[in-house]
């Protein structure tokens, strides 16, 4: 079979969609108060460094996924089990995204629909696109990149046009708040959403323009960081820190306030759609990463066979993992602080250091 190929713009679109994913809709960096937008921007340099590390590793092993070069760098005995441990992390994170989408849908308008139905419909769509292969996925991402950007612009425009923005809620940023912002930027926002890009190490082997990888990734990261920062600043300026911190989905609350000319009102659907698209792409990438690492570890040729089990696992864990949404959020904080940094930052940095050392001391055969 022909090797599937992904072009620079496709990678760009995928990264942006992945970054926006759920981060656009759920509150991020909870502790940073009204300077959340600043925290998002402050975390950007760290995010860029992480991405450059992923890019470096990819350039060293352009044909291998992360599990492949983990075995090369750390040796088979250490690399294999470590790579295996990444799979459940990815699966769990995918299921968290699904849970968040399901919960917004239920609390926003499907309050009488069982969560299993809402989630399984989403999983079916994810499985469908994974069967189609990463190339089709990338093309779909390109189209939806345009769609999401247009929807985002419409949302931002109506929020501003409705006169809801109160800049008083954003400024001034006092010295103490800078520190707060910095604290929530590192490591929380660095890991979620920037560090999650580690998933792309499984997609990069299909990338055709090897040289452009750093440029594309950094550009996508900067764009998505600006969009995230802008959106959260907008939400904060409309809602104020108090409501922003109490609401489960600030973007949703923001948009419900819109009323332009008594006609354009309740654009909730746009937010729901943005979240559906974002979660769809983010989850698909997580599932793809899990599938391709598993396939690589167990030498499974036909990756299609893994899609169904992965989909089922994600679906089940999405409603088994936490009793209710507050518990889910509490789990999320623990997960974000304790577990997610390992595959996102610790392992790549470890790989980078070990690889450099082995190169330096000529320890590769």
């Amino acid at each position: 079979m022909r090797k599937e190929a992904i072009g620079p713009f496709q990678l760009f679109a995928m990264i942006v969609l992945f970054e926006l994913g759920t981060a656009l809709v759920v509150p991020i960096g909870l502790e940073s108060g009204h300077a959340v937008w600043l925290a998002i921007l402050l975390a950007l340099p760290g995010g860029i460094i992480l991405v450059l590390i992923y890019g470096y590793l990819y350039k060293q092993f352009p044909d291998l996924t992360i599990s492949g070069y983990m075995r090369r760098i750390l040796g088979r005995a250490a690399g294999w089990p470590l790579a295996l441990l990444i799979v459940p992390v990815f699966l769990y994170n995918g299921s968290r995204n699904l849970r968040e989408a399901g919960d917004l849908l239920i609390s926003a308008s499907y309050d009488k629909t069982p969560v299993i139905i809402i989630n399984s419909i989403m999983v079916i769509a994810v499985m469908y696109i994974l069967y189609m292969g990463i190339e089709v996925f990338a093309r779909t991402a390109e189209i939806y990149f345009i769609v999401v950007v247009i929807m985002g612009l419409i949302c931002a425009f109506v929020v501003i046009a409705a006169g809801l923005v109160k800049l008083d809620n954003l400024f001034p940023v006092l010295p103490g708040q800078w520190l707060e912002a910095l604290q929530s930027a590192y490591p929380n926002i660095l890991i979620f959403p920037y560090g999650e890009l580690v998933c792309f190490t499984t997609i990069l082997p299909h990338f055709t323009a090897k040289r452009k990888v750093n440029g594309v990734a950094v550009a996508a990261l900067v764009l998505s960081s600006l969009m995230l920062g802008f959106t959260h600043a907008l939400e904060m300026s409309v809602l104020g820190p108090d409501i922003y911190s109490r609401t489960t989905f600030p973007m949703f609350t923001t948009i419900t306030l819109v009323n332009v000319a008594n006609f354009i009102q309740r654009l909730d659907a746009f937010v729901i759609l943005t979240l559906i698209f974002g979660v769809f792409f983010k989850m698909s990438i997580y599932c793809y990463a899990a599938v391709s690492i598993t396939a690589d570890l167990f030498r499974i040729k036909d990756t299609h066979r893994l899609v169904l089990p992965v989909g089922v696992v994600v679906l089940l864990s999405s409603f088994v993992s936490a009793e209710d949404y507050p518990a889910h959020m509490a789990d999320g904080i623990v997960f974000l602080e304790k577990i997610l940094p390992i595959p996102c930052a610790v392992i790549p940095i470890l790989l980078y250091v070990v690889h450099r050392l082995r190169l330096r001391f000529k320890l590769y055969r």
Partner: protein, 515 residues
């Protein structure tokens, strides 16, 4: 479908006597032809005898599909051996007569030597005249096909305000001429082949040598050769046999009856297939946006064309999602509708006995019936049908309180929007898909529509037409090709051909530096 794989055992008339050589005896051959054609009355056999030696000679043709003048000219020229001119011996032996005929009987330029009965029949049935000389186990055929055919008329399905009024007809030769007349270039290459075991339909593959991707041409050639169907009655047969994803609702071959459209596409590096017996030519590779464009986009000013293209795309979205979103909004997302409008809609729906979804389904269904009835009827009656159906039925349904007026508006808007899609087969696909999306909207509201829409887009992205991704140049995104997708930039700036047809000569016009 009377299509079978080549490996199967041959059957039917088409294959019998494949290896049977012609008999040397004229009588036998004529008798064989007669019996194979079932003593058909339109088979004409003219018998001659040479003056010297009285060698029997026969000319065979089928009456209705030949041009009398051509037959006469061909026979006359063949019989000219009786008068070879000064100082040349008149051939007398059958061999001499035959070889004289073979060498000299140049009338149509399309003579063929036939050695077996099957080829002879095939030649006869495609309108050739066959000459038989007694004692020779070969026959000579000349192209004399003609007979009645439709004159070139105005395009009926792809109407344009501005642009050529010529449309293809059913005759392959005429159609080739129509394209040739538009592209007077030696690089316009044609390849002819015959498809259909029974129908033996002529088909011409046309491409611009040096513009079309040779790999694609070879690929298509192989696919066409692999076609093994017993009948090809219309280009639709070829279209369906060539499609890569057989279960997709989307067409991946473009059909047109406009020679200017074919010419334009050839010049962008695409390949055209002209098939005898149909005015519809096939063009491939055809991506989604090819179906959304018309030739007129290039004849009108760029700004107007751009606006119309955007309008068409919006209409496509409305005709695909319109009723579904209406049903979803009314059943699931009432909060989205502005208050005065909601109160208005609610008062319209008072007394309507059906759920919104059933109401929508009913109206859409009625609309499809009216449309189908309108197409199948002769055009004056067809108009009556649409007027009665659309105006009277709709009005009466509203007044009877069975359907709310808003629903009639939505359904008719959807219907009108679906007429703006220039390619009829694409509009058909959208019509079918609309029902599926309506179901999704009625069951899960906007969420259902969004998910089905996502899967639909994913499906469209997975399609390919002759190796070219269906959604190109949007996905994969080709910045250089955006000049002619949604917007059409002024021709002056349209200097390159679309990249994704993989043509070799990129430039349409010399760039400012080159001139």
């Amino acid at each position: 479908m009377p299509i079978r794989k080549a490996a199967n055992k041959p059957e039917g008339n088409g294959d019998r006597g494949k290896q049977s050589p012609l008999s040397a005896a004229l009588e036998d051959t004529v008798e064989q032809v007669r019996s194979r054609l079932g003593n058909s009355p339109d088979l004409v056999i003219r018998n001659y005898k040479s003056i010297i030696n009285e060698v029997p000679i026969a000319a065979l043709y089928i009456n209705a599909i030949t041009d009398k003048n051509l037959v006469d000219a061909f026979v006359e020229q063949a019989m000219a051996f009786e008068f070879p001119g000064e100082g040349v011996a008149i051939p007398s032996a059958p061999e001499d007569i035959y070889s004289y005929m073979k060498d000299k009987a140049v009338s149509t330029g399309k003579e063929k030597v036939i050695e077996d009965l099957n080829s002879l029949l095939e030649a006869l049935l495609s309108g050739d005249t066959v000459l038989l000389v007694d004692g020779i186990a070969e026959a000579l055929s000349g192209m004399t096909s003609g007979g009645e055919s439709r004159a070139i008329s105005e395009a009926a399905t792809q109407v344009s305000i501005r642009g050529s009024k010529e449309a293809f007809t059913e005759g392959l030769g005429t159609n080739i001429a129509l394209v040739r007349r538009r592209i007077k270039s030696p690089d316009l290459w044609l390849e002819t082949m015959t498809v259909g075991r029974v129908t033996r339909t002529d088909m011409t593959m046309m491409y611009m040598h040096g513009l079309a991707d040779e790999g694609a041409v070879q690929n298509l050639r192989d696919k066409l050769k692999a076609i093994d169907a017993d009948s090809i009655l219309e280009s639709g047969y070829i279209e369906q046999l060539l499609e890569e994803n057989r279960f997709s609702p989307f067409p991946t071959l473009y059909n047109t009856e406009r020679p200017d459209s074919v010419a334009g596409n050839l010049l962008e590096g695409r390949i055209a297939l002209l098939i005898d017996g149909t005015p519809f030519a096939l063009i491939l590779p055809a991506t989604f946006f090819v179906f959304m464009h018309t030739v007129e986009d290039y004849y009108q000013r760029y700004d107007i064309s751009t606006m119309i293209r955007v309008l068409r795309l919006i209409c496509l979205v409305i005709s695909l999602f319109g009723p579904a979103i209406f049903v979803a909004a009314l059943n699931f997302h009432q909060e989205m509708i502005p208050t005065p409008l909601l109160i208005n809609l609610a008062s319209q729906r008072e007394g309507v006995p059906f759920p919104t979804f059933i109401e929508a389904l009913m109206m859409e269904f009625t609309f499809e019936i009216i449309r189908e009835a309108g197409i199948r009827m002769p055009s004056p009656i067809g108009q009556t049908v649409s007027i009665i159906g659309g105006l009277v039925l709709g009005q009466a349904a509203v007044q009877a309180g069975i359907v709310s007026p808003a629903m009639v508006i939505v359904v008719s808007l959807t219907g009108i929007c679906s007429f703006t899609t220039p390619a009829f087969n694409m509009a058909l696909s959208i019509r079918v898909l609309r029902f599926g999306i309506m179901f999704a909207g009625a069951f899960m509201g906007l969420y259902g529509i969004a998910i089905v829409g996502l899967m639909l887009v994913a499906h469209m992205c997975s399609l390919r037409s002759l190796g070219v991704p269906y959604m190109s140049p949007i996905a994969p995104f080709a910045p250089g090709d955006q000049k002619d997708v949604l917007v059409r930039i002024p021709l002056h700036f349209m200097k390159t051909r679309p990249r994704l047809t993989r043509n070799k000569q990129g430039k349409r016009q010399p760039g400012p530096d080159a001139s």
